[in-house]
Amino acid sequence: MSIFDLIRFKNKNSATTAKERLQIVVSHQRSEQNQQPDFLPHLHKELVEVVSKYTDIDKEQIQVELQNEGDFSVLELNITLPSTADLT
């Protein structure tokens, strides 16, 4: 640490820099975590309608999940049908 560093230190507070950098990186991180396309609730609603047209299904039994895996996303549909006796 030179004498110049000591002088510069007075002007530029490193804790302030840390805070500013963190605020940016954290807000970016949070927006990535909450990434969910707008169509997902609609898709879910329409799926429930279509499936319940043909089967007597509880709408809780249809799950739609989008998972981000690096470069691509996986849309996972999970539909639990009632027992085969009820399908006829």
Binding site: S14, A15, A18, K19, Q23, R30
Partner: protein
């Protein structure tokens, strides 16, 4: 016990003081008369036994119990100092894939019947071991150093708690507490370190306690004694205050003060220390 509480000590980042804090908080809860177990989830890299000073008494571990190779009571180690304190060590020879959700749930449920507090020491990262440690937690202690990478990782683990925990999947929320460790009031005063306000502004999590950077922490782990059961020290005071807050017996968090003395000389010492 039907009012048992499962608390995970987590951070995302490694080396910030999760194991030290688990030992200190668990031991202090026990010292105050609450039947407590500290559980090591760091399968393959166990260390809670060392910090607790019972490394030579480990015979069976968490994974042995998951695999029905030992009973829970065979694997639990009773602390020799505090009658209310127990430790469940992690396996050193297995890896984290040995932790199944069903197995962990079975053990947590069994512990809930025996203990008031179940303190889960999470491994670093956000992979299987860390996810299993936090999955069944009702409360979380987020250990954070006043340093950029630790704060960022804490924010990440808060996101994981909000999406991957059992409570989150049930549409509920894990109660989160922020524990700031390795805090140096002198450096904050000089503008060299993030302040408590800075960290809280970014993480927006209720503060549980502030543990100052302290020689007492290394000294305690050297001896295998939890900081709260060791000799009087600044860190011991801070951890005990944090436990009072956790128990709802105190509402304020005490901020460690700057060191007193002749500032000019102190700076010279620090100057020399940093250039080495």
């Amino acid at each position: 016990m039907n009012n048992a509480k499962v608390i995970v000590v987590t951070s995302g980042k490694g080396g910030v003081g999760k194991t030290t804090s688990t030992a200190a908080i668990g031991a202090e809860l026990a010292r105050r008369g609450h039947k407590t177990v500290v559980v090591d989830f760091d399968v393959g890299l166990r260390n809670l036994d060392l910090v607790m000073g019972c490394e030579r008494r480990v015979i069976y571990d968490f994974i042995n119990v998951v695999n029905d190779e030992a009973t829970l009571s065979q694997a639990l180690i009773k602390d020799k100092r505090e009658p209310n304190l127990y430790i469940l060590p992690a396996s050193q020879t297995r890896n984290k894939d040995a932790l199944t959700q069903e197995g962990v749930e079975r053990i947590i449920d069994a512990l809930k019947a025996e203990f008031k507090f179940i303190i889960c020491d999470s491994p670093a990262g956000i992979e299987r071991g860390a996810l299993m440690a936090l999955y069944f937690a009702e409360e979380a202690i987020i250990v954070t150093n006043p340093e950029v990478s630790s704060v960022r990782d804490s924010d990440r683990i808060i996101g994981v708690l909000n999406s991957e925990s059992k409570l989150a999947k049930e549409g509920k929320e894990v109660k989160k507490h922020l524990l700031i460790t390795r805090y140096s009031p002198d450096r904050v005063k000089r503008g060299e370190m993030l302040s408590i306000d800075d960290i809280q502004e970014i993480l927006a999590t209720e503060l549980l306690g502030i543990i100052p950077e302290s020689q007492a922490v290394l000294s305690a782990s050297n001896q295998g004694v939890p900081v709260t059961l060791n000799d009087e020290s600044d860190a011991r005071v801070s951890y005990r205050n944090a436990v009072s807050k956790l128990l709802g017996e105190a509402s304020d968090v005490q901020i460690p003060g700057t060191s007193k003395g002749w500032g000019f000389l102190k700076n010279i010492r620090l100057f020399k220390g940093e250039t080495v």
